[in-house]
C-alpha cells in the first residue's frame, strides 16, 4: 500500500549482515513465516510474534502508546491509503469486511465486520449484497444503518475533497456520472444509483464490470459508515465519528491524538475485537531515530508505520542478543524489483529482456537490501506470503547468481550477441536502490549489457520520471528500479496495479513496463473466477505470464525488522498488513 513517503529502509548495510551472521548460529531463531505456534519450544526470543501470538493475554486496561515518524495521510476513513492506517483504523471504525485479527496467514483472511457475513454476489459477479449487523451504533449512540455506509462510500468518490484514498470504487461502481454527495440533488446525499439500500440493514453494490474479489473492496475503510449530519468534508478527519471500540478524545492534527473507550461500542455485535487497552495515544511527526530509542527504552509501545526500525536501531538490535530476542523479522508482501522497459530498443525484443533476467545476479540484489535480514531472493512477482502464491522460477541459475551462458544465448537470439547499452534509473534518496543499480550494472556488464545509472527524486519518481512513459522512453530508461507493496495480500491487490497494461496513464503510473495482452487476459480471468482456490491459481497464472514476458526483473521480497517492547501483550505479525496487528495489542504495565 501507499507507504512510499514513509517507508524507510527495512534492511541495513553490509555491517548489519555481518552482525546478523555473527549471531546467526544461535539455533532457536527461525524465520519460518508459517509457523503457526505450538511447535516452537521457546515462547520468547527472536520472531516469537511470527505465526502466533506472543505474550497472549485478555487483560484489559492501560494505555497503548503509538508514535509515527511521519503523519497519516488522513484519519478520515474515506481518504486514507496507508497500510498502517488500514490496520489502525479498525480501532475506531468498522467496515463491511475486515482482515481477521489473527497471527500469520489467518490475518490475511477476510472476515465480516459490520456485515453479518461475506458478500453475496449475483451470478454475473456485478451485484454484491451485504447485510449489516443489528445493534451497531455510532459513538453518539445513533444506530448505524446501511445508508450511513452508502453515504461513506459515496463521499469517498469525491477525489477533490478526498484525494488520498484508493479509487477502486470510482473505477468499478456503475456511477452513471455521479461525482459527489456534496453535489447531489438528493438532500440526503444518497443519490448514487450504484449503491442501493432497500432497508436499513441491506446494502447492494452494482458494478460496471464483474469482479470476484469484491469482498476486499468491502474491507476498505471507505465502507465505514459516516453519519451525514456529522460530515464536515475535508474537516471530518478532525472529528471522525467512531463505530469501533475507541473514539477520539483529543485530536491535534500534525501533532498527536488520543482515543478512549467508546461506550456505545457493543462487544456483542463484534466478534473480531478484544479491545484490551483503556486508552490509546498517538504522537505524529516524531524523529525516527528517537522513536526507535523510545521503543527500546519502553517509553513507547508501537511504531505505527510498521515498516520496521531505522538502520541505526537495526544494527543495534542485531548486535545485541537481548534486543534481538525482542524483535521480529517477518517477510512482507513487498517486492523490490526492476522494470524492463519494452518501449526502449532493443528491449522491445523479448529475448533481450530474457537476457537481463538470466544475467542478473539476484544475490547481488539481495545484498543491496542488506542480505538475509533485508529479504529473500524473489524469482517471480507474487510474494510467498500471499495466500496461494507458488514458486515460479523461469530463469533459474545456480545459487541465483545468474546464468551467463543462457544470457548470451538470449542475446544472440535478440540479434545483439555483443550486448547493448541502456540506462537504468533509481530513486535518488534510496541508497539501496542505488546499490541495486550498481549491482545490476556489474552483473549485466559481464554479458556486454552496459548500464548507465540515472537517479531521479524519490517523491516524483512515478509522477514525473520513471512512471511517466514519455519521459522514460525519451530518456532511454531501459530499466527502472522500483518496489511494490500489496494493497491487499491477494493476487488482485498485489499484481493488478503493476501488471495490467490497460491502467497505464500518461504519468503517475504504478505499472512502468508490463505490457502484454496475455497478462491482461489472465487478469480478467482471475478477476471473474468465483471459486477462491481457483482464483488464487488464476493469479499465480498472471504472475507466470508476467514472468514469461520478462518485463519485470524480480529482486527481493522484503523483510522488516520490528522491535517488540516487553510491555506489549498479545503481539503478533498479521499477514494481512505485514505488521503487528494493532487491533489485538494490549499492555501489561
Amino acid at each position: 500500500m501507499r507507504k512510499q513517503r514513509l517507508v524507510t529502509m527495512v534492511a541495513a548495510g553490509a555491517a548489519t549482515v555481518m552482525a546478523l551472521s555473527a549471531c546467526g548460529g544461535g539455533g532457536g531463531s527461525s524465520n519460518n513465516n508459517n509457523n503457526k505456534g505450538g511447535g516452537n519450544p521457546s515462547a520468547t526470543g527472536p520472531n516469537a510474534a511470527i505465526g502466533k501470538a506472543f505474550n497472549p493475554s485478555d487483560k484489559k486496561g492501560g494505555t497503548l502508546r503509538f508514535a509515527n515518524a511521519g503523519d497519516w495521510d488522513s484519519l478520515d476513513p474515506g481518504d486514507t491509503y496507508y497500510a498502517y492506517s488500514w490496520n489502525f483504523i479498525r480501532l475506531y471504525g468498522r467496515s463491511l469486511m475486515m482482515f481477521a485479527s489473527a497471527p500469520g496467514q489467518d490475518g490475511a483472511k477476510l472476515t465480516p465486520d459490520l456485515a453479518e457475513s461475506k458478500g453475496v454476489p449475483s451470478e454475473d459477479l456485478k451485484t454484491w449484497t451485504y447485510k449489516i449487523r443489528k445493534g451497531v451504533k455510532f459513538d453518539d449512540g445513533t444506530p448505524v444503518t446501511s445508508k450511513d455506509v452508502k453515504y461513506g462510500v459515496s463521499r469517498s468518490l469525491d477525489k477533490d475533497i478526498f484525494p488520498n484514498g484508493p479509487t477502486y470504487f470510482n473505477e468499478f461502481l456503475d456511477l452513471q456520472g455521479y461525482t459527489s454527495p456534496y453535489k447531489d440533488s438528493d438532500p440526503n446525499g444518497l443519490g448514487l444509483k450504484a449503491i442501493e439500500t432497500p432497508d436499513d440493514q441491506t446494502i447492494v453494490f452494482k458494478l460496471k464490470k464483474p469482479f470476484a474479489d469484491f469482498d476486499y473492496f468491502a474491507g476498505m475503510p471507505s465502507t465505514m459508515p459516516v453519519p451525514k449530519a456529522k460530515d464536515t468534508g475535508s474537516k471530518y478527519k478532525e472529528k471522525v465519528v467512531s463505530t469501533g471500540p475507541y473514539k477520539f478524545e483529543k485530536v491535534e492534527l500534525g501533532k498527536s491524538f488520543s482515543m478512549v473507550r467508546n461506550e456505545n461500542w457493543d462487544p456483542a455485535t463484534d466478534p473480531n475485537r478484544k479491545a484490551l487497552p483503556d486508552k490509546i495515544t498517538v504522537q505524529v511527526n516524531v524523529n525516527p531515530d528517537d522513536l526507535d530509542n523510545r521503543l527500546m527504552s519502553g517509553d513507547l509501545d508501537v511504531d505505527v508505520v510498521g515498516s520496521g526500525v531505522q538502520p541505526a536501531a537495526q544494527a543495534k538490535i542485531l548486535a545485541d542478543p537481548n534486543l534481538k530476542n525482542n524483535s521480529d523479522n517477518p517477510l512482507s508482501a513487498r517486492l523490490w524489483f526492476t522494470n524492463i522497459n519494452g518501449e526502449v530498443a532493443p528491449l522491445d525484443n523479448i529475448e533481450c529482456r530474457k537476457a537481463i533476467q538470466y544475467a542478473a545476479d539476484r544475490t547481488g540484489y539481495q545484498r543491496a537490501y542488506g542480505g538475509n535480514a533485508g529479504g529473500e531472493v524473489a524469482s517471480s512477482l507474487l510474494p510467498p506470503i500471499i495466500p496461494g502464491a507458488e514458486k515460479i522460477d523461469l530463469y533459474p541459475s545456480k545459487d541465483n547468481a545468474g546464468d551467463l551462458d543462457k544470457a548470451k544465448e538470449a542475446l544472440t537470439k535478440c540479434g545483439q550477441p555483443n550486448g547493448f547499452e541502456t540506462n537504468i534509473s533509481y530513486r535518488a534518496e534510496r541508497p539501496k536502490e542505488k546499490a541495486t543499480a550498481e549491482s545490476l550494472q556489474q552483473s549485466l556488464g559481464k554479458v556486454g549489457i552496459k548500464l548507465n545509472i540515472k537517479a531521479y527524486p524519490t517523491g516524483d519518481y512515478a509522477k514525473l520520471y520513471a512512471g511517466k512513459p514519455d519521459f522514460a522512453k525519451s530518456n532511454n530508461l531501459g530499466m527502472m528500479v522500483f518496489g511494490w507493496a500489496a494493497d491487499w495480500p491477494n493476487g488482485f491487490g498485489f499484481l493488478k496495479e503493476i501488471t495490467d497494461s490497460r491502467n497505464i496513464k500518461p504519468a503517475g503510473n504504478t505499472n512502468f513496463s508490463v505490457k502484454d495482452p496475455k497478462v491482461n487476459e489472465a487478469i480478467d480471468k482471475a478477476m471473474t473466477e468465483k471459486d477462491e482456490n481457483a482464483r488464487q491459481k488464476a493469479w499465480v497464472e498472471v504472475d507466470r505470464k508476467a514472468m514469461e514476458s520478462a518485463y519485470a526483473l524480480p529482486g527481493v521480497v522484503a523483510k522488516g525488522l520490528y522491535y517488540r517492547p516487553k510491555n506489549l501483550t498479545n503481539v503478533f505479525i498479521t499477514d494481512g498488513f505485514s505488521e503487528y496487528d494493532y487491533l489485538a495489542l494490549g499492555v501489561s504495565g
Binding site: S74, K235, K255, N287, D290, N293, S297, K463
Partner: protein, 337 residues
C-alpha cells in the same frame, strides 16, 4: 526617528513581498519552466491510483490551471482579505491573514502557524535566555582569565559546542538523560505552557540546553574576543586610572562595549530561530515552525512551505529592525534620520 522606522517598515514590507515572490516562483514557476505540466504538479496531491480525470480536477481545484500571475495574485489577496475554500459539504472562509490551505490536509495554514509559533517561541526564547547568560558569562570570565585552565577548558568546550551538530548532541542528550538516566522526558511530549507549565518546561529542558549549548559556544567565543579587545581599549585604562575597582571597570565599562556586537548577533540568531529551529525541533520531535517546514517540504505541501517561509522571513526582518533600533539605545553615537 519615526521617519526612519516608517522607512524601515516600508522596506520590510517590500522585502517580504520579494521573499513571497521568490518562494512562490521556486515552487510554482520553476517546475513549470523545468517542463512539468499542471497535471504533473497536481499528480502529487492525488492518491496513488488516481486517473487522468481526477488529476485534471485536482489541478483545477488547486488553481494550477490559472496563469501564474493570477495564482500569485490570489495568494497575496488571501493574505489581506482572506479566501473561501470548500470542505465538501460547506464553504469555509479563511480570514485574513489567510496563507492558503494545505494541498494535502486541506487545513488553512495560518492557524497551524500560529499554533506552531507558540512551540518555537517557547523553545527559542528559553534557549536564548540560557545561552545569552552562560555564553556571555563564560566569554567574560575566559577573557579576564585569559590563558588559565578555565579559559582553555571553556574555549575547548565552546569549540566542541560550535562544531557538534544539534542532531548529534540532541540524540546524545536524549540517549543519556531520557533513556539512560531517566532524568528528562523524551522527545515528542510537548504540552502548552498554559496547559501544564511544569510539563512544558520538562519537555523543553533538553532542547533548551542543547540549543543553548550550541549557541552559547559561539557567544562565549565572540564575547571573549570582544572583551579581550575592549579591555585593551584606552577608556578601560582611563576607568582604572580613576581608581575604579576592577569589578566596576569590567562590568560597567568593559561589558557595556561588548553589548553591541552581541546584540547584533543575538537579534539575528533569535529572528532566525523564531522562524523555526529546524534541527532542534526535528531531533526532539517538537511541533514547532521548523518541524512544520520540514514536514511541509517533505510532503511538497506548497502553501505550507510558502506560509512558513513568509513567517520565518517576517521574524528575521522584524529582528533586524529591532536590532537596528536598539543600536540607537545601546550606542549613543548612532542616530537615525
Amino acid at each position: 526617528m519615526l521617519a526612519y522606522i516608517i522607512r524601515r517598515l516600508l522596506g520590510a514590507v517590500i522585502l517580504l513581498f520579494v521573499v513571497s515572490l521568490v518562494t512562490f516562483s521556486i515552487f510554482f514557476l520553476v517546475p513549470r519552466i523545468a517542463g512539468a505540466s499542471v497535471e504533473d504538479m497536481a499528480s502529487r496531491y492525488v492518491g496513488k491510483t488516481a486517473d487522468a480525470e481526477t488529476i485534471r480536477q485536482m489541478a483545477e481545484k488547486l488553481g494550477f490551471t490559472d496563469p501564474l500571475l493570477t495564482q500569485y495574485g490570489r495568494f497575496v489577496s488571501a493574505i489581506f482579505v482572506g479566501a473561501d475554500y470548500s470542505t465538501g459539504p460547506t464553504t469555509v472562509h479563511c480570514p485574513a491573514p489567510c496563507l492558503g490551505y494545505s494541498f494535502i490536509t486541506q487545513n488553512p495554514v495560518w492557524p497551524d502557524l500560529v499554533d506552531r509559533m507558540g512551540v518555537t517561541i517557547s523553545l527559542a526564547v528559553g534557549a536564548a535566555v540560557i545561552w545569552l547568560f552562560f555564553g556571555v558569562a563564560t566569554g567574560v570570565l575566559s577573557a579576564l582569565r585569559r590563558g588559565t585552565v578555565f579559559d582553555r577548558a571553556a574555549m575547548g568546550v565552546a569549540l566542541a559546542g560550535v562544531s557538534l551538530p544539534i542532531f548529534f548532541t540532541g540524540l546524545l542528550s536524549l540517549t543519556i538523560f531520557s533513556y539512560g538516566l531517566g532524568w528528562a522526558v523524551p522527545g515528542g511530549t510537548y504540552v502548552n505552557f498554559a496547559e501544564n507549565p511544569l510539563a512544558w518546561a520538562g519537555a523543553l529542558i533538553l532542547p533548551w540546553v542543547t540549543l543553548a549549548f550550541l549557541n552559547a559556544a559561539g557567544y562565549a567565543r565572540l564575547t571573549r574576543a570582544t572583551m579581550l579587545e575592549t579591555m585593551n581599549e584606552d577608556f578601560i585604562r582611563t576607568a582604572r586610572a580613576k581608581g575604579l575597582n576592577e569589578r566596576t571597570v569590567v562590568v560597567k565599562h568593559g561589558l557595556r562595549s561588548v553589548l553591541t556586537p552581541i546584540l547584533t548577533i543575538f537579534g539575528l540568531d533569535l529572528g532566525i530561530l523564531l522562524g523555526g529551529a529546524v534541527l532542534t525541533e526535528s531531533t526532539y520531535s517538537l511541533p514547532g515552525l521548523g518541524k512544520y517546514a520540514i514536514d511541509a517540504i517533505v510532503n511538497n505541501d506548497l502553501p505550507k512551505v510558502l506560509g512558513v517561509t513568509l513567517v520565518g522571513a517576517t521574524f528575521i526582518v522584524i529582528a533586524n529592525l529591532v536590532v537596528d533600533l536598539l543600536y540607537a539605545v545601546v550606542d549613543p553615537r548612532v542616530k537615525y534620520s
